[in-house]
């Protein structure tokens, strides 16, 4: 059914289109050329409206074991935001750790059409996909976690060649149905199992003698050589530790120009200056990002209020357990594969440290010059629930508003930050880069995040309201694969998105050694570990979209 979206002001950075009025034609879920005969079956008048591709959250904890532990742990948090069933929607709960169904509805209602789970443990990948399968409307996918798994560390300790590591990475990404590779506290989750309580970039794992720097180099090279579009997704060493900015700078320098995405950089940008021995390293970090063109970051902005932190970083989550609010917390060692830690947390605007974290995040947003290399996240739910994105966008686009909020925060923290003096305000075009075109490029989604012919018709339409929080909270329309799913900010239809993956090639002979490893050391068979394509399709509601690889080859 050919549909014409008429006369909207289009922001499509993938094609360099910055607020130009034009028509968009949609047929069978895709953006198409105008019909030669001019005939359309449906027309939606978008004159005066702002039109962007559907937004993409490139780092959001929406599915998998630790998210479900967080949900289980927080009945009191859900109780304040229970969601009733409607004719259209299932019941559920919202806020910090929303139910899968509510998460999908709320993302769509905000104009988001895709979200990527950044920490899929291979041993728990099946669960992550089950949960994402139950997340409506948005597309999904995830990054599989490596770097603390004993199989990789054994290979590295044995000094295996890069090709065998590439094979293992490709095998893992393929059979856990992922689109990228993540490393969390490289080697540190493993070291914690040997009772190491910290692991600096050049510190050796006490059993394997392998360092985080070596792990990052091996994995970043594997990702590049396999042609996986999404750069190695790195949650660095020393999460949340004052002074960790030096490690972060060293990590950037040490990757030797290989593509690397440093996630929730705010949590890794801390100095040790001042009376509180806690200071902002955002200026130095941003300067380094500006200099290193191979580096991308997402911010992991914190916003004030109750949330829950759920991370694969069992080592640092354990170290921080005294800060749990309310006072309950979980860590797990998992399957010679990884780990996790879950701590409810309340960010307080009158806490010096929390206020400065807020400022560090915003400083980073405003001091990194290239919007194609920085992404809007709160590391949902770790910095704040994803539902706070419209508020965050307003903070970025409206200096007066930002400084007004700033003026109410912990006074000593205000003095410790240069945020008030930064004049930059993001434009709609830059927001469209950060949340659409740039995010699609970063994740490796060839057919999403843009409004050109051949793109998927994931389209969000806003009213150009001066209050950007209002504007981004309630889109006028959201189209998902060409179907209108939101009208005037309300859900009117429920669809089920696709799962984006990549399938890099590997040498099948790796399965001989892997099968022996599974049989001998693990507690499930290799064949049962593999997630089939049928499992993603499941009851017919799911589907798999295989994204193209880049040209790989030896670096």
């Amino acid at each position: 059914m050919l549909m014409k979206l008429t006369g909207g002001r289009v922001y499509d950075p993938a094609h360099g289109i910055n607020g130009i009025v034009r028509d968009i034609y949609v047929d069978d879920g895709w953006i198409v050329e105008p019909p030669t005969d001019g005939k359309v079956l449906q027309e939606v008048d978008l004159r005066g409206k702002v039109v962007m591709a559907g937004a993409i959250d490139m780092h959001t904890h929406i599915g998998g074991g630790k998210v479900n532990i967080a949900r289980t742990m927080l009945p009191e948090d859900h109780a304040a935001d229970v969601v009733a069933r409607t004719e259209l929607m299932r019941s559920g709960c919202g806020h910090a750790a929303p139910s899968t169904l509510t998460a999908g509805y709320r993302y769509a209602e905000m104009g988001y059409t895709a979200g990527f789970e950044p920490a899929i443990l291979p041993s728990n990948a099946r669960q992550a996909h089950m949960e994402m399968h139950d997340t409506p409307i948005i597309d999904k996918g995830g990054y599989v976690m490596l770097g603390s798994d004993d199989y990789l560390l054994r290979m590295m300790a044995a000094n295996n060649d890069q090709e065998s590591i590439n094979n293992y990475v490709a095998w893992t990404i393929t059979h856990s149905q992922a689109i990228g590779v993540k490393v969390v506290n490289p080697g540190g989750i493993n070291a914690f199992k040997f009772n190491q309580r910290k692991l600096d970039l050049d510190e050796k794992n006490s059993f394997y003698g392998v360092t985080p720097r070596e792990i990052l180099l091996r994995l970043a090279r594997a990702v590049k050589e396999l042609g996986i579009p999404h750069p190695l997704h790195v949650h660095g060493c020393n999460l949340g530790v004052p002074g960790n900015m030096d490690t972060t700078l060293d990590t950037m320098d040490g990757i030797g120009g290989l593509p690397m995405h440093m996630t929730h950089i705010q949590f890794h940008s801390y100095g040790t200056e001042g009376d509180y021995k806690f200071s902002s390293g955002a200026a130095e970090i941003a300067e380094a990002i500006n200099r290193h063109k191979n580096i991308t970051v997402d911010v992991g902005q914190i916003l004030f209020g109750q949330t829950v932190t759920a991370s694969g970083d069992s080592m640092h989550q354990h170290a921080g357990h005294a800060h749990a609010h309310p006072n309950k917390w979980v860590t797990m060692d998992i399957e010679c594969d990884a780990g996790c830690g879950v701590l409810p947390f309340k960010y307080k605007d009158q806490s010096f440290v929390n206020a400065l974290q807020w400022m560090i995040g915003l400083e980073t947003f405003l001091l990194v010059e290239d919007p194609w290399r920085i992404f809007l996240t709160t590391d949902h739910p770790n910095g704040a629930p994803f539902t706070s994105y419209p508020h965050l966008i307003r903070l970025l686009m409206d200096k007066t508003f930002r400084n007004e909020v700033l003026s109410r925060l912990h006074p000593e923290a205000q003095k410790a930050s240069r945020l008030a003096s930064i004049d930059r305000e993001y434009s709609l075009y830059e927001i469209a880069i950060m949340t659409r075109a740039g995010a699609a490029k970063l994740v490796g989604l060839a057919d999403r995040g843009h409004l050109g012919v051949g793109g998927a018709a994931d389209i969000t339409v806003y009213t150009d309201h001066a209050d950007r929080e209002k504007m981004f909270s309630k889109p006028d329309y959201v189209f998902k694969d060409g179907r209108m799913v939101v009208k005037d900010g309300d859900l009117i239809d429920v669809t089920w998105g696709t799962t984006h993956v990549v399938k890099p090639e590997y040498d099948k002979s790796i399965e001989t050694s892997l099968k022996g490893y599974f049989d001998k050391y693990l507690t499930m068979k290799m064949g049962n570990f593999k997630i089939s394509d049928d499992e993603i399709v499941d009851d017919g509601r799911g589907s798999l979209t295989i994204q193209p690889l880049h040209k790989g080859g030896p670096v």
Partner: protein
């Protein structure tokens, strides 16, 4: 993946019956007859081998078509003031369908093993824990403390698969592993090492176990204890145990909640979990709750991600309303608060609906017999035998794919519950 190695013989078959999801079974299928050829245990063998008998649904004892049984059930639910969907021994998609039905019909959901699983869930919701999973235990444990549980009676292959493997990743001599029972002792020899090293046993009555555990935690925390004897165990012995836990590099404390058969056992589980946290100030130690039979972990996982809450949640008001006391289905049935009970039991013919005044619909494994005929009985297939599926194991991290092994023609629980939802 479960693979057919010759006609009628399947290898690497996961067991959805044993809780730890052993997936090294060899199973033969001849027509409708299934036999476990290798690596079975009591739970797994009866799980796979219980024969199919009745295939026809019944309403008030009369054979009817599936469509009629579904229609009848939908009408019962439609006219009900309080439906409870319980039992819920099913797989991933069965659980999904149960949640969808509960949401639509404003029912209350519960599981047949909730009495046990809530001994753990309440701890997770109150203070949390530091736990581990089976492969970590297999490769790392140097000291296994078993609390109040005769593990091999409920998990016959736990020791063979997890504690006494031939090899471990870190070169540990498995004979150096210490196994210590606190509370109950072992009923068999599974906990004895391959070379004959026997487990140590510190016996006490269940009634004394909470106090014994609190003293042990106090000793681990370095507190002075005046008592000399707790429940028949010398405090000096407990002090030695505390010292060994502190000296161990990767101790694991395990329990089966189903065997902690005393009131408020969750407080004892909490004591254990807090002790493990204390131990981690200096060394590494982890908890390992054992359970997961009858779809218990699977169903709780699905309920939590779809609604935010585990079992014992009601949808009466159109949204999930969690109350582990008020929505305890056994209590509700006992107090006559339920007019319609939907009992799902697709794994074990012996797990039947509790007797009550409620009109009862049983969606159960073929072969079930009843003392009093339920209003509706719909025989269903078994996940991993009659249809494909997925099931979580005890640790809640790993889930396994279950494959269809025979064509019985029986519908799945998902098929039946989805049809009822549609008919509402």
């Amino acid at each position: 993946m479960t693979e057919k190695v010759e006609e009628g013989v399947w290898q690497d078959v996961p067991s959805p019956f044993c809780g730890i999801a052993s997936d090294d079974l060899t199973v033969s299928v001849k027509g409708q007859k299934v036999s476990v050829l290798e690596n079975g245990d009591a739970y797994t063998a009866s799980g796979f081998e219980t024969p199919v008998t009745d295939k026809a649904p019944r309403v008030n004892g009369k054979v009817v078509t599936l469509a009629v049984a579904v229609e009848h059930t939908a009408r019962l639910i439609h006219n009900s003031k309080q439906t409870v969907i319980s039992g819920l021994a099913t797989d991933l998609n069965g659980a999904r369908a149960a949640m969808a039905l509960a949401d639509k019909s404003r029912a209350t959901i519960d599981h047949m093993n909730s009495v046990e699983s809530f001994k753990n869930t309440l701890v997770l919701q109150d203070t949390g824990w530091m736990n581990t999973t089976l492969s970590e235990v297999k490769n790392r444990v140097d000291m296994l403390l078993i609390v109040g549980s005769d593990i091999e009676a409920g998990f016959p292959r736990f020791f063979e698969r997890i504690i006494w493997p031939e090899d471990t990743l870190f070169g540990q001599d498995i004979e150096s592993r210490d196994v210590i029972y606190l509370g109950k002792g072992p009923s068999g020899r599974a906990s004895t090492s391959p070379e004959g090293k026997k487990a140590e046993v510190m016996l006490c009555d269940d009634a004394d176990l909470p106090e014994v555990l609190s003293i042990l935690r106090a000793l681990v925390a370095g507190r002075a204890i005046n008592a000399v004897d707790i429940g028949g165990i010398a405090v000096t012995d407990l002090a030695r145990l505390a010292a060994r836990l502190k000296a161990a590099k990767y101790s694991v404390v395990t329990w089966a909640a189903s065997m902690l058969d005393f009131d408020h056992a969750e407080v004892s589980v909490q004591m254990v979990c807090e002790m493990v946290k204390d131990l981690n100030t200096k060394t590494r130690s982890s908890g390992l709750p054992l359970g997961g039979k009858d779809g218990e972990v699977t169903v709780n996982q699905v309920a939590v991600w779809q609604s935010g809450y585990p079992m014992r949640t009601n949808f009466n008001r159109g949204y999930p309303d969690y109350d582990p006391y008020l929505s305890d289905s056994l209590r509700m049935l006992k107090d006559d608060e339920v007019d319609t009970l939907l009992w799902v039991s697709s794994f074990d013919i012996e797990r039947k609906a509790p007797a009550s005044k409620a009109v009862t619909v049983v969606i159960g494994r073929s072969g079930m017999s009843f003392d009093s005929e339920p209003a509706v009985f719909i025989p269903v297939g078994i996940p991993g035998i009659d249809h494909s599926g997925r099931a979580f194991r005890s640790d809640g991290v790993v889930s396994l794919p279950l494959k269809q092994l025979r064509n019985s023609g029986l519908p799945s629980t998902f098929d039946v519950l989805s049809a009822i939802e549609k008919a509402l």
